[in-house]
């Protein structure tokens, strides 16, 4: 969820502002966050049941101190990273093959289009029945979610490679292999990285839902458990942790994207 939320900022963010502009933005961001916490505090004082920020911080501290939060984070991160890695590792070659060979495209497209219309969460019941309630079904749906997003962007990246660049490589003596490795792959990197970021967001969203249904550990499980006991501070701790982790992972990918695609002309 968190990963997707920051996506639309990409274009604006890459139109780089001066250092002064950057600092101004940072100050505004901090002011905004502090303001949000203030509003939350006010709300907690007036509305029943909403825990105050200090209460949530205290619970967070408790959960950290007894190791619960670390364990949950570790369990969740392991799932999401494994699923995301498997999903994108499959998506990139499949997307490339679909873009490069029309036969592969014709064969793969019906399945990809079909599964894209099914929310990965709807696969969970089936996955649990087929794969049991261990880690496998969870990682599977997470991988599926990442795969479906990423495969489309890898495919689009290959299809959109400028014909002139391919021709330029051909007249410079490049064969299919060289064209693929030295033109198609770099030219489609921006697409793939955007796809990976969206894929990460959707992995993350799927993770929490998968844990809500069947898990013994993990952030989603912890919140589900807390719900039974009306333990709102724990739910808040879970939500905030998920948000922060998602944001950090998204930023890491964004950083990689900037590094790897700095050659792009900015429109």
């Amino acid at each position: 969820m968190t990963g997707v939320a920051v996506l639309p900022r990409r274009r604006a963010a890459s139109g780089r502002q001066g250092a002064g502009g950057g600092r101004r933005m940072l100050v505004l961001n901090i002011v905004s966050v502090l303001f949000g916490i203030g509003v939350w505090w006010l709300l907690s004082a007036t509305v029943e049941n909403i825990p105050s920020p200090p209460a949530v911080a205290e619970r967070g501290w408790e959960l950290l101190a007894d190791g619960t939060l670390e364990g949950d984070i570790l369990a969740s991160l392991t799932r999401v990273i494994a699923g995301f890695a498997i999903g994108t590792a499959l998506a990139i070659p499949v997307g490339f093959l679909m873009g490069w060979y029309s036969t592969v495209r014709g064969l793969a497209e019906p399945y990809i289009q079909f599964f894209r219309t099914i929310p990965p969460l709807a696969i969970i019941p089936l996955a649990i029945v087929l794969m049991g309630i261990g880690e496998t079904p969870k990682i599977f749906v997470i991988a599926l979610a990442a795969f479906l997003v990423c495969v489309i962007s890898a495919f689009q990246g290959v299809v959109d490679v400028d014909r002139t660049l391919i021709n330029a490589a051909r007249v410079l003596g490049a064969g299919d292999r060289t064209i693929f490795l030295r033109v198609v792959v770099p030219a489609s990197t921006p697409f793939i990285l955007v796809g990976m970021r969206v894929g990460l967001g959707s992995s993350w969203a799927t993770l929490v839902a998968a844990e809500l249904i069947a898990a013994q550990q993990g952030l989603g499980f912890r919140m589900q458990n807390a719900q039974v006991y009306y333990d709102l501070p724990t739910i808040f701790v879970g939500l905030i942790t998920i948000g922060i982790l998602g944001l950090v992972m998204d930023r890491i990918l964004l950083f990689a994207e900037r590094k790897l695609t700095s050659w792009q002309e900015r429109r």
Partner: protein, 276 residues
């Protein structure tokens, strides 16, 4: 309709490039589009031929056939007596849109063709440096294309084509997107290198002045269907200086070519598509 087969000005010698009744037909929604209709043309070694004509008359299509990027629907194109079948290292191509690899620096772009040819790294670097210096981009050797101006990008593309040492240069409106001054500079630079290494050049342009200024021969094409309308010999001395550009002879030739380009649009007869 089709003019007599224009021959190269150098009599006797076998042509470097020979275009023999080349046609190119593109399938379109409601039938076929004849982009080239039995075009024939011989180009001698070391000749500088320019091709002018209205937009859509098939200039790029003809060049792509010579480059081996487009297969003719009929007829054949030969280079050194061998039928063109795909691109080859003896034919360098410079595209209108520069077509630099945006993720590679100037140097890496220039080295691209040398890498595919398997030239070892050290020699590659030396040759790249040489051609980067030739086009005056030595200060930008490690810059990415996005930081270059249009003229610099085109110079980089020229260096990239030169680096593989082709005996033929195929240039598709290479200076079309540049301002007048940059264009004149690059024209003069191109002629200077050409007069030294004497490659065979086929140069497409929209610009009648440019066509006459550069060429031994100007090929005027007409559209619908794409064909050769007229071939004008340019007997102006090289090096072509500003004096040549301002001379009455130049003006006369320019008028002739202009007339051939312009006049045809009033004598448009054939429809562009024929229903299959």
């Amino acid at each position: 309709m089709t003019p007599d087969r224009p021959t190269a000005s150098t009599e006797g010698a076998p042509p470097k490039i020979s275009v023999d009744a080349v046609s190119k037909v593109f399938p379109v929604k409601d039938g076929e589009f004849v982009a080239l209709d039995r075009v024939s043309l011989d180009i001698a070694e070391n000749e500088f031929v320019t091709v002018v004509g209205p937009s859509g008359c098939g200039k790029s299509t003809l060049l792509n056939v010579l480059a081996g990027l487009e297969e003719p629907s009929g007829g054949r194109a030969t280079v050194d007596g061998v039928e063109v079948d795909g691109p080859g290292p003896e034919r360098g191509v410079i595209f209108q849109q520069y077509a630099l690899f945006p993720w590679l620096t100037v140097r890496k772009n220039v080295e691209f063709g040398l890498r595919t040819a398997g030239v070892p790294a050290r020699e590659r670097a030396e040759r790249a440096d040489h051609f980067i210096r030739l086009v005056g981009l030595e200060q930008f050797a490690d810059a990415l294309p996005k930081t270059l101006s249009g003229g610099m990008k085109q110079r980089c593309a020229i260096a990239r084509a030169y680096a593989v040492d082709p005996s033929i240069l195929l240039m598709d409106e290479p200076f079309g997107a540049l301002d007048a001054l940059t264009r004149v500079r690059l024209q003069e630079q191109l002629l200077e290198t050409w007069s030294q290494d004497r490659r065979t050049v086929v140069f497409i342009t929209h610009d009648v002045d440019e066509a006459v200024f550069l060429a031994n021969r100007v090929v005027v094409m007409a559209a619908r269907p794409g064909r050769i309308q007229e071939v004008v010999d340019v007997d102006l001395p090289y090096p072509r200086t500003e004096d040549v550009r301002l001379s009455p002879e130049f003006g006369e030739l320019r008028n002739r070519v202009w007339h051939a380009v312009y006049h045809q649009s009033t004598s448009l007869a054939q429809p562009s598509t024929t229903t299959a």
